[in-house]
Symmetry: C2
Subunit: 230 residues, 2 copies
């Protein structure tokens, strides 16, 4: 049990709380480590915990009727997930897979509920966090509903660069090991299509591809591509 309270300061959910409240919350958390490839939970399992990613990276995938599972969200350090627990949501509706070695803070649901009622500011942080997640999901829905594959792939790559970009000499690298298949699962297409599009972009000098890696050399060009009218 117990983690460093300062780790909570970075995330919007806890940022506006008093230091003492953060201390209480931190004291109630336990630390969990995942090796790359391990899962924090699996779709369908009973859900009984709230998570904060401290380091590393995860993908949240959901499988349904369709072919391959879909990636609902990439979780970056400082982000919180699986937090919309109502009377519904007894089971996890997604699987959380570690993309790289990761560290999580975990609160049992019962403890979380207690904190929510005891710390006056916490519900408002939660409301804000949920609102942000909703807005993001709606944005991605709009993309997939109205843009063709290259454009939504461009959006996905730009989002990754924005949140997990690491500057290098030749450009900005997505600092997460995502396969072509993963990119396809994020954009609702196939790895073949992704591969073709990326090689085209590479020929045009926009990016440099690699095995589970991607270096973006010309971000403005990608942004133009993502939003171009036709």
């Amino acid at each position: 049990m117990s983690i460093d309270p300062d780790l909570l300061r970075g995330t919007p959910l806890f940022a506006s709380l008093a230091a003492s409240a953060r201390q209480t919350i931190a004291a109630a958390a336990s630390l969990r480590r995942l090796a790359a490839g391990e899962r924090a939970f699996t779709q369908g399992e009973p859900a009984g915990e709230i998570f904060l990613l401290l380091a590393g990276g995860l993908k949240l995938t959901r499988s349904g009727w369709g072919r391959e599972p879909v990636i609902l969200r990439i979780v970056h350090p400082g982000e919180v997930f699986e937090l919309d627990h109502g009377p519904h949501r007894i089971r996890h509706d997604a699987t959380a897979n570690a993309l790289r070695d990761s560290t999580l803070a975990v609160w049992p649901l019962a403890v979380w509920q207690r904190l929510l009622h005891e710390l006056p500011g916490l519900p408002f942080g939660l409301i804000q966090a949920l609102g942000l997640e909703l807005a993001e999901t709606q944005g991605r829905f709009l993309e997939i509903a109205s843009l063709d594959v290259p454009r939504r792939l461009a959006h996905a790559v730009l989002r990754l660069i924005d949140r997990a970009g690491r500057l290098e000499e030749e450009g900005t690298r997505i600092n997460l090991p995502l396969s072509r298949q993963d990119l396809a699962a994020m954009t609702g297409t196939t790895l073949h299509n992704v591969s073709r599009i990326l090689t085209r972009w590479e020929r045009h000098g926009l990016i440099i591809g690699g095995r589970r890696t991607l270096l973006v050399r010309d971000i403005p060009a990608l942004m133009r591509l993502a939003t171009a009218e036709a």
Copy 2:
């Protein structure tokens, strides 16, 4: 100002509150009427109100880079909308269009914030409401990312039947005037495609189409269609 407190009992957001709290909330609301076709607000406008639909029906649309605007959500009576206001969300990110004559309860944002702080149960209702909306949006994202057009159209129709269905002799009718274009905007396709699919279903006896109306005769068959593997 002021509406009947009993009107609030139907929605999850307010259901778990004490009667006195509902009375306070109702007293702070004002009533607004919209004729079919009118809009409650427009995308880009400054956002300063929270809405509850009492009667009628709305569509929330968002336009972006892509071709036609996309329908993010159909709002049914008893549902609340535009409630994720954080420091972000200064402007409406969608347009609310009345599909039929509608009645709304409206709270100015400032009043709403005050209520949220004064009525202890309210934030938890809000959390629950946001969680539900998030889950629904994620579900629709999964659909559009992994299913072909006929299947996601089937899902959309079934959802409408579930929430706005009215029983008739020959089947269940979607009790909202939705054009083919609207159905297309909900499923991320074109009205042409929707039209073709619906006439096919009509030939098979699943539905009976019409001008801005749809009667479903065989719901189980539609459900099979929606979830079929291939």
